[in-house]
Assembly symmetry: C2
Homo-oligomer: 247 residues x 2
């Protein structure tokens, strides 16, 4: 069923849909009066609703949908700026499907491209649109925020967290295999988790050491070398597997 995010804090009995949603519902999806859709209000509550008019598009709110679709922990994915424009798009689309709460792109020592204004704001707006679409399609009740920060330090300062990890392939080389599981196994519902990932060339040892000094734990993601855009997807799947499918 089609799902849309609306800005209403809480639904009234009827909700008039904003112009962009109305266009998608009526012109693209060709919905008729009587069609059922799902809306998510700004308080992250989803509702079943019935289309009652098309010009303007308006729905009657039928009942709340109480299936829980969000991770029990909030997960911030922080990625060193990748080189190409396709990789951030893939990270945002798939990261949203896989349950991320926030997706940060940060500049780091081996980042080849740098996001400067005003191009940066355009990029972020485009990526936010991808996140919003993916949130609708994967039937989430949260649209992850896509943001930029100048450094990993700014990520930690601006988004306080309970647990922070950094994906580091050398961990595997040192025979460390279980630190990810040990870390995820300790998470409690409602906690905040932040995970850092390097750009194509990886984070430098200096960056990893400085992160470790700030309490960020190095974790391996298995013995194979994952591309910069694949590592966050592995990580989010692992968090879901550990926290959502655990009996």
């Amino acid at each position: 069923m089609q799902r849309y995010f609306v800005t209403n804090q809480q639904p009234a009995d009827t909700v008039e849909l904003p112009a962009d949603i109305s266009h998608h519902l009526v012109d693209v999806m060709r919905a008729k009066v009587g069609a059922k859709i799902e809306i998510v209000c700004a308080d992250h509550q989803a509702y079943l609703a019935t289309v009652i008019s098309l010009q303007p598009a308006m729905v009657r709110v039928d009942q709340p949908l109480n299936k829980s679709v969000e991770m029990p922990v909030t997960v911030t994915i922080a990625c060193g700026l990748p080189k190409t424009k396709e990789k951030p798009q893939l990270i945002v689309q798939k990261g949203t499907e896989l349950g991320a709460t926030r997706i940060v792109f940060f500049d780091c020592q081996r980042s080849i491209s740098h996001w400067t204004s005003p191009r940066r704001e355009k990029k972020l707006a485009r990526l936010q649109k991808i996140a919003n679409g993916a949130a609708e399609q994967s039937h989430r009740t949260v649209q992850p925020r896509v943001v930029y920060r100048d450094s990993w330090q700014d990520v930690l300062t601006d988004f306080p967290t309970d647990t922070a990890v950094v994906a580091w392939e050398e961990s595997a080389k040192q025979g460390e295999v279980s630190r990810l599981q040990a870390t995820l196994g300790k998470l409690k519902a409602g906690e905040r988790l932040t995970a850092f990932f390097g750009p194509e060339g990886g984070l430098t040892s200096a960056e990893i050491n400085a992160m470790n000094d700030q309490g960020v734990v190095s974790v391996g993601l298995g013995p194979r070398i994952l591309r910069t855009e694949t590592a966050p997807l592995y990580f989010l799947s692992a968090v879901s597997y550990q926290t959502e499918l655990n009996g």
Copy 2:
């Protein structure tokens, strides 16, 4: 370090590299005499090697590399034919990085595109090339085979397996959350695992029921709706997390 797959069953002291690898190493990567590379022989053993001549490109084999990079179980990913050509490419590239042993595309009731000869052979050759490149880049010792079958029954017949599962989003709706973990937790090293995934519209109830009758277990992949190309990536990450990072 650059890794290449060669067809030699076992390395002699020196190996002459085939023309395509030679071109990549010398013309693209601009390697010089003395450069270190890794080669993987047909028996899936990796070796450290040193470039000793460029025309023709030839290496001296220095020592075997004994780091284990393959999953302890062999995993066949079987995907209902997706609609677009980008999705199989993404599944093959990321599925290879994430450790799949074999990737099958099969025709099913809701597949919109059908792969007919001779276009099919061209598609498979292109996808195999993507798998081979991803295997090099992720430093695997196995290049997953990419194949096509007319039906899910043919997949089970042609590729015998110890455990078979099918990703089914209704599992989550029925409150089933832990069957994936129960199934993966029982796997033993050396066993074969096959996982089926639907195309964009999903598998039909009839297909799911018939699979269940054949012993294929329905498993949920968490509460969010994953796109057809995202579900296999979640699954492979979960298999790795369960079988490779488990202390």
